[in-house]
């Protein structure tokens, strides 16, 4: 079932085009949004989360149009949003912060609100940290608290902007497990730089570049983009090909076959790098 439909979505900041006629349909499950810096991922998520009005095109969330004020409020009742910089009040306790956001989400009855706060704290495994101030939580816990506030009110659409940035491997695994559970019955749109996140979590992946959607499909389809273009060799390739030395000491080359190289199984990252060309390769190498 389609939850979100975007048609011809456009947004400009001065002379810079952030979104250029984006068409997209998203349904239940986890959809990953990949792209280099400045690809338009955050702008797209902000438009969907009603934090930003687009300049052109249409958005429909469950058939509702956020451009209409009354329908926008209804859309907000159905979404949970974790921005890139959530700015959670450092002097609030985890419980007080969720209690506050629950009020913003129109849960005005005290008993119902407290039950909801307990539910989301339990869902993100922070029940025992309810009385800890936000500034004393670790980065991973803070990010889970950010996720908890997005889950208040049991939204049908959850929008997460780079939630795994800066997390250590253990916290990242925990976060992935949480997002994976969410995707069982909700629509989750997850922006990330990490192709590993996409491979581990997403049923669908959307790649953006220069404000446009350049790929839509499954993670395997993205890897297929690099089929027949990934090579392993014992010596570095000649010319300007993109390559790097892997953990086994072999040179992994993308593009034309270097002399003496053997074909290798492509990964999601290979597909992504080949799809975006120089922009992504430069960013990946950096």
């Amino acid at each position: 079932m389609t939850t979100v439909t975007l048609q011809g979505l456009g947004k400009r900041y001065g002379t810079t085009t952030a979104l250029d006629a984006v068409d997209l349909s998203i349904g239940v499950g986890v959809t990953g949004l990949l792209g280099p810096n400045g690809a338009g991922k955050t702008t797209l998520l902000r438009c969907l989360a009603t934090a930003l009005g687009p300049d052109s095109g249409t958005i429909r969330v469950h058939g509702l149009d956020p451009a209409v004020a009354a329908q926008r409020t209804e859309v907000r009742r159905r979404i949970g949003y974790l921005p890139q910089n959530p700015g959670l009040y450092p002097n609030f306790t985890a419980y007080a912060l969720l209690d506050y956001v629950a009020v913003l989400k129109e849960i005005t009855d005290t008993r119902q609100r407290r039950a909801e706060v307990r539910r989301v704290l339990d869902e993100v495994e922070l029940t025992d940290r309810a009385k800890t101030k936000v500034r004393k939580l670790s980065g991973g816990m803070r990010q889970r608290l950010g996720l908890a506030q997005a889950l208040l009110g049991d939204p049908e659409l959850v929008i997460l902007d780079e939630p795994t940035v800066g997390l250590d491997p253990e916290q990242r695994m925990l976060f992935r497990a949480l997002i994976s559970r969410l995707g069982e019955r909700r629509t989750v749109l997850l922006s990330t730089h990490q192709t590993e996140d996409v491979g581990a979590l997403c049923e669908r992946v959307v790649v953006m570049s220069g404000g446009r959607v350049v790929f839509e499909g499954g993670p395997r389809d993205l890897a297929q983009v690099a089929e027949g273009q990934v090579w392993l060799s014992e010596t570095p390739p000649q010319g300007n090909a993109a390559y790097w030395r892997n953990a086994d000491g072999f040179y992994r080359t993308l593009g034309r076959r270097p002399d003496g190289a053997e074909p290798a199984r492509p990964s999601i990252e290979d597909g992504y790098l080949l799809l975006l060309g120089n922009v992504a390769v430069t960013e990946a190498i950096r």
Binding site: T50, A51, T93, Y95, E106, R114, R118
Partner: protein, 277 residues
């Protein structure tokens, strides 16, 4: 730990009925702690237990209600509305205490430096209307509110929330400046002369914030007011108070505030992040 001995069914029945003497209740409960089989004979009221634990958890973790909040609740402000207002950046204790300190110093300077008290009184009149404007600039949105992006995408976001917060901070600022005005040496009407300019600047800031950000709107209007006041002070020396705070000026402030209020009502949707600007 397991045991071969189990509680007699008659005892269990008395325990369930609540007819067992306390010393035997303690004995039965001590045994049940280590015997799952006997524990299973007592039907547990899971819903009641869950409710009780939830109530205890909330009691321990829910934010404490302070004396001011209790007073406002008694005055009829609903608890959820209070939660919204207490998160307003300009209502944090640090802001309130800093403002109170500045006002206390102004009053003290006026009383202890009696010779310059008239000038201090006039300076107070000129500056007091700015206080609510500064408060409004910290009521909503960036940079005062680091959570503005989350706040702005909830169903409560929009003009209603902005106005609730603005009214609450203006109220607090006016009360603080009002107390200081009453304590200042000088004519009694000084205590009220700054109120209409404050209303004008506050509504003006909010109206202007439908096109600019709140802090920029506050700076623009604050600067305009101070420039105007300084120009009058330079050109109409001796007539400063009557020119800026006299009846004609007060009427003009009231009319201008009404115009700003009309602009604010017409353009209030602009406070919604989701509106295209």
């Amino acid at each position: 730990m397991t045991t071969d001995w189990h509680i007699d069914p008659g005892l269990i029945e008395q325990y369930e009925n609540g007819t067992l003497v306390p010393s035997r209740v303690m004995a039965v409960e001590a045994h049940m702690l280590s015997c799952a089989a006997c524990r299973a004979l007592i039907p547990a009221e899971d819903a009641w237990l869950d409710d009780s634990w939830s109530a205890v958890y909330d009691e321990l973790h829910a934010p404490r209600v302070g004396p001011v909040a209790r007073l406002l609740t008694r005055a009829g402000l609903p608890g959820h509305r209070l939660r919204l207002l207490t998160a307003t950046p300009a209502l944090r204790w640090s802001w309130v205490l800093a403002t109170s300190a500045v006002l206390t110093l102004a009053v003290a300077a006026a009383w202890f430096g009696r010779e310059g008290s008239q000038a201090i009184g006039q300076a107070f009149l000129a500056l007091a209307p700015i206080l609510p404007v500064i408060a409004v600039s910290g009521a909503y949105g960036p940079p005062a509110d680091p959570m503005h992006e989350i706040t702005g995408t909830t169903p409560a976001a929009g003009p209603g929330l902005v106005l609730w917060r603005a009214v609450s901070v203006i109220g607090v600022a006016v009360v603080m400046a009002g107390v200081a005005a009453v304590l200042l040496p000088g004519p009694g009407w000084y205590a009220a002369a700054w109120l209409l300019p404050a209303l004008l600047l506050s509504t003006g800031t909010l109206a202007l914030a439908t096109s600019l950000t709140l802090p920029v709107a506050a700076v623009v209007l604050g600067a305009l007011w101070l420039t105007g006041v300084l120009v009058v002070a330079r050109t109409a020396e001796g007539l400063f108070v009557s020119s800026v705070f006299g009846p004609t000026a007060q009427l003009a402030y009231l009319l201008a505030a009404a115009v700003f209020a009309a602009v604010l009502i017409t353009r209030r949707r602009r406070f919604d992040l989701g509106e295209s600007r």
